[in-house]
């Protein structure tokens, strides 16, 4: 088991390094000069040269890369070309917002998917079960931003129950924070919930057909009881895998949802930074996102071994 974890850690580190190089090179070939963007339409050649030197983008690419990655290893993400502020603290701030959003979205998804998927599996021969399956199919087809726009139209613009966007930190006013999180979390979570429902359904269906459940029922347990006592843990293994994969999708969905709901998270920071060719900031954000996705994979892998004792030997 230790060897397995160590191997995973090595893969993790190498992936991060490769990703950092790829991100860096992509930024380097992107058309548009950061100094030009920072200076705007009245820039003179002298001022451009001075600004390039100030940003350090007139140096060889290799030097720039090692400077950057060296700083990052010490926790220093550099200074933004646009805000002239240190990027690290900004990143943490924005990451907080995105994590709240992704976490709340995931919670909504689970709260929908586990009961709905189980219900659809248990009742798969009945109309109600088929109905839930059908609904989930529709949900899968709706992109998160569209769900967001519809929710805003209904609950913010028409009914005016909830804010149409904006962010209040939880420590400032928890009520406002919660109200502001409801619509974004729903628009992320509804779609993800629909996707997950299908996986939960097939996992539970699969489990229902297993011999040990039949044994449990022959001991007098009702189908629901048998499922809860003996089946759910087994059904959760494939669901956890999908959950890991979905988290990555959720992060990407969050980028769009942050834009729709004007949330100051990593996604909106990334879009702004790309538009203003704030290269160091873009590199920092993408690196954080890559590390996030890789971490999720890592955790899922470890969870497997916890959930399924059969994997511990290998």
């Amino acid at each position: 088991m230790t060897a397995r974890v160590l191997r995973r850690v090595a893969i993790f580190v190498v992936s991060v390094l490769v990703a950092s190089i790829v991100v860096f090179l992509f930024m380097a070939v992107l058309p548009g000069d950061p100094a030009q963007v920072a200076l705007g339409v009245n820039a003179t050649p002298e001022l451009l040269a001075k600004t390039r030197a100030e940003f350090g983008i007139d140096r060889p690419l290799v030097t720039q890369y090692f400077d950057w990655i060296g700083g990052v290893l010490h926790g220093d993400f550099g200074r933004s070309y646009v805000t002239r502020d240190t990027i690290g603290p900004q990143l943490l701030d924005r990451l907080g917002v995105t994590l709240w959003l992704v976490g709340a979205g995931m919670l909504v998804a689970l709260v929908i998917a586990i009961p709905a998927g189980t219900f659809a599996a248990v009742k798969h021969r009945k109309a109600a079960g088929a109905g839930v399956s059908g609904l989930s199919q529709i949900g899968v087809a709706i992109p998160a931003f569209l769900a967001g726009i519809i929710l805003v139209q209904i609950f913010a613009v028409q009914l005016r129950w909830l804010p149409s966007g904006g962010w209040t930190p939880p420590d400032q006013d928890f009520g406002e924070f919660f109200r502001g999180l409801i619509l974004p979390a729903l628009s992320l979570g509804l779609v993800q919930g629909a996707v997950l429902t299908r996986y939960v359904r097939s996992a539970v269906l699969d489990t229902l057909g297993q011999d040990y459940l039949r044994t449990a029922r022959s001991k007098g347990l009702r189908p629901g009881q048998a499922l809860v006592r003996h089946g759910l843990r087994n059904a959760s293994v494939p669901v956890v895998t999908v959950l890991g994969l979905q988290l990555a999708t959720l992060l990407i969905g969050a980028v769009v949802v942050e834009r729709v709901f004007v949330l100051p998270g990593l996604g909106s920071m990334l879009l702004d930074a790309v538009a203003s060719r704030d290269l160091l900031t873009v590199q920092g954000i993408v690196l954080v996102l890559v590390v996030g996705v890789l971490l999720v994979n890592f955790v899922v892998d470890v969870l497997y071994t916890v959930l399924d004792p059969r994997l511990r030997g290998s």
Binding site: G40, S80, L159, P169, R259, V260, S268
Partner: protein, 496 residues
């Protein structure tokens, strides 16, 4: 399991509806608070080292004040200077300062600060428009309330640029951290900022002038036009500083809760033509394209018919404005004749535009109308600002482009042969120089001639002037109708 789904739905509904109590108070917490929505967020607060419109929009006249300011008619009026006199040779300006003015850090404002601020532009500022202050030769402190500025040559443009951020007054004790802690003499101070979200301004208790009506103003930054509109509909904000989606205006007009304030701006939407390169280096070709485009129809398509046809680089709020929109009426036949005369009948031009909504929709009209006179165009949307700035603006790698020029009095760019217009007219350069050094009357006369000359040369086609459309809750009054300064002036706003 069976009962759980309806229960869940009920809980969700309860949570949602239970929260509706008091929800109208989301941002506008009280009658003392106003929340204004903007599309562009300041990167930081240092307007001496960071370009762009967003910082002066938030801070100028609100947090920072200059000796003079622009009113909504485009006139230069007193602010920190009570009055001023100009010497007969037009090189010496004597400013009498307002008494009892303090910076928000408590330091008194005196002629020393005027000297410090004006000279600091030349030494410490790095933004590109700072060169208009090069004409300042020296500043004398005659008395604490009397500053004398001596120019190396007469310049009307100089006094005008004092109304912009270049004229903002700083205290030597308040410049330690301009990017985060602005210290000015204005009616508001920056109280908080949430990056990617908002800036909070609070009334300055020690302000020397008329106290603002709103104690707190929240500047909310919302990039998407739809999200901005939704925020106003759902009580998230009280004012949209400038509408960027004209199709939504009628909906606001039809709703009693809101008012629509429409004025003019400095923002000329221009079809730029590369004057330096064939075939557009031939004045007949440029005139032909100008005759070929129905600007009224274009305005209807690109900006829902709102905006003004001006036909030159001069907005109606400049003293030398003349309506030149009828010099080149829509006459496709004449366009064809001119193209034949110039032996330019089989043209294929690159229309390289920024990927912004107004430019994309205007480009399609331009393309179809030019096609009617036999000129083929290829529309190439470029990522704005990065790619457009590099390829069109810096490298001049284009035939045609469409972009709004937002700076005040930017007609002077036609006096720079290296500017991306590629327009080189000795007469225009001469007239601009004379206008800057002459009396105000001469300036008006000369500038009119400049406008007529660039129009006669069809140096560009000025498609239309962007309107300034503010949408607000009906209870808010005191907006500056015409957006002519760099500031979104909060000082006159008050509840009805």
């Amino acid at each position: 399991m069976k009962a759980r789904i309806p229960v869940l739905a009920a809980v969700l509904l309860l949570v949602v509806s239970g929260c509706s109590a008091g929800s109208s108070a989301s941002v506008s917490a009280g009658p003392d608070t106003l929340s204004v929505g903007f599309t562009a967020e300041p990167a930081n607060f240092d307007l001496t080292r960071t370009d762009g419109a967003a910082i002066p929009q938030a801070l100028l006249y609100n947090v920072y004040e200059g000796l003079v300011k622009l009113d909504s008619q485009g006139r230069i009026v007193p602010l920190l200077a009570k009055s001023w006199t100009i010497s007969p040779d037009r090189k010496t300006y004597d400013f009498q300062l307002q008494p009892g003015v303090k910076f928000s850090n408590g330091a008194p404002f005196t002629a020393e600060d005027v000297k410090f601020s004006l000279l600091r532009v030349q030494t410490d500022w790095t933004i590109s428009i700072k060169s208009t202050m090069d004409v300042v030769d020296h500043v004398d402190v005659v008395a604490p309330d009397h500053a004398r500025v001596v120019l190396s040559k007469p310049s009307n443009g100089w006094l005008f640029s004092l109304t912009s951020r270049l004229g903002a007054m700083f205290s030597p004790t308040g410049i330690a951290d301009l990017a985060n802690k602005p210290v000015g003499t204005g009616p508001y101070v920056v109280a908080a900022r949430k990056r990617g979200d908002s800036v909070v301004l609070k009334a300055n208790p020690a302000y020397w002038g008329r106290k603002p009506a709103y104690q707190t103003v929240v500047l909310k930054y919302i990039k998407e036009p739809t999200a901005l509109n939704n925020a106003l509909y759902s009580n998230g904000i009280d004012v949209i500083s400038a509408i960027t989606a004209p199709d939504s205006i009628p909906q606001f007009q039809a709703d009693d809760r809101f008012q629509v304030v429409q004025g003019t701006s400095n923002s000329e939407v221009t079809l730029a033509m590369n004057n330096a390169r064939a075939p557009l280096n031939d004045v007949r070709v440029r005139q032909a394209l100008t005759y070929a485009i129905d600007r009224k129809a274009l305005l209807d398509t690109a900006w829902a018919g709102r905006g003004t046809l001006i036909g030159s680089m001069v907005p109606p709020t400049d003293p030398w404005y003349e309506d030149l929109s009828n010099v080149y009426p829509f006459e496709p036949a004449k366009a064809k004749a001119l193209l034949t005369e110039a032996h330019a009948t089989n043209l294929n031009l690159r229309l390289r535009i920024p990927n912004l909504p107004y430019a994309v929709s205007a480009a399609q009209v331009v393309q179809s109308q030019l096609a009617d006179v036999g000129v083929r165009t290829t529309i190439e949307p470029l990522d704005f600002p990065a790619v457009w700035l590099k390829q069109v603006f810096t490298d001049h790698d284009y035939d045609l482009s469409i972009i709004q020029h937002v700076e005040a009095r930017d007609i002077t760019t036609f006096g720079k042969p290296k500017y991306y217009w590629g327009y080189d007219s000795k007469r225009v350069q001469q007239l601009l120089a004379e206008a800057d050094s002459g009396t105000p009357e001469q300036q008006v006369a000369d500038m009119k001639l400049v406008a007529r000359q660039i129009n006669a040369d069809a140096a560009a086609d000025w498609l239309f002037l962007f309107p300034n459309v503010i949408v607000a809750k009906s209870k808010v009054t005191g907006f500056v109708q015409n957006q002519v300064s760099e500031s979104f002036d909060l000082t006159g706003l008050a509840p009805r």
